[in-house]
């Protein structure tokens, strides 16, 4: 009986510890990163992008033009799909979602493959340098 209880307690402790470590893995530079993104369902991804949309549509934000598409015909679903493309490369998963958003903005604005790869590399470096 005591052994079973001890076993359960240890299992719970291990679970809590791994959950806590998992939580750290989904953050980079204090922001949700690609691991958090890929583990969210489709609707969850839309909700994240929707929150950004609500702020950028409602308020004037400094530097938001580097991140948010200035074409209002682009849908939230399309933005989420392009972010998915960025995180399809597992090497990009420690980049914050906001970094991926700046890449998506460049891609949707017509940046060429070399410029996009250069930006992705810069974002990977930025995420790797600050833990």
């Amino acid at each position: 009986m005591k052994t079973t209880l001890l076993k359960k307690t240890i299992l719970l402790a291990v679970f809590c510890l791994s959950s806590a470590m998992g939580e750290d893995l989904v953050y980079s530079l204090g922001m949700l990163n690609g691991r958090g993104w890929v583990s969210a369902g489709h609707e969850g991804k839309l909700m994240y992008v929707r929150a950004l949309n609500d702020v950028f549509v409602t308020f004037k934000c400094d530097e938001s033009t580097d991140f948010w598409p200035d074409n209002d015909k682009i849908t939230i679903g399309e933005i989420a799909d392009v972010i998915d493309q960025f995180f399809a490369d597992a090497a990009n998963r420690s980049v914050p979602i906001l970094g991926a958003l700046s890449w998506a903005k460049q891609k949707m604005s017509g940046a060429d493959a070399a410029a996009l790869e250069s930006l992705a590399a810069t974002l990977r470096k930025g995420s790797a340098s600050t833990k």
Partner: protein, 129 residues
């Protein structure tokens, strides 16, 4: 048969568009959409809001974002749910409801909260026009 298929397609499209507009007030997500979401989806909205509030200088966002109060994202989600438990608040954008959450977390009185909620309802009416 073709006619029926076309009618069905038009019906589906128009009902999807109607749902989308019901879930937004002035192009911004509102309480009807919020209440239709799962807890995880709501949390993702709060994550997005947090990332933007902490990394961009946006006018008025500091008045609304409750991140400076001591609360977990799950608690923020639960207090937003409380705000929308009153059906008359459902047209208020979630973004503004967060201002009510911030006030509640910092200990504002029920009267102040109700006064602010009423002003948000008026704002929602203005946004919907």
């Amino acid at each position: 048969m073709f006619k029926k298929t076309m009618l069905l397609a038009v019906f589906c499209l128009s009902s999807a568009m109607a749902t989308e507009s019901l879930y937004q007030t002035g192009g911004v997500y509102n309480g009807r959409g919020w209440l239709a979401d799962t807890v995880m989806e709501k949390l993702n909205y709060i994550y997005g809001m947090s990332d933007v509030a902490r990394n961009f200088k946006c006018e008025s966002i500091s008045d609304l974002w409750p991140g400076s109060e001591k609360a977990t994202y799950m608690e923020i989600v639960q207090i937003v749910d409380q705000f929308y438990a009153d059906a008359s608040n459902r047209a208020v954008p979630v973004l503004y409801a967060l201002g009510w959450v911030k006030m509640k977390l910092r200990g504002d009185t029920p009267a102040a909260l109700e006064k602010f909620a009423a002003s948000l309802r008026r704002t929602a009416v203005g946004l919907a026009k």
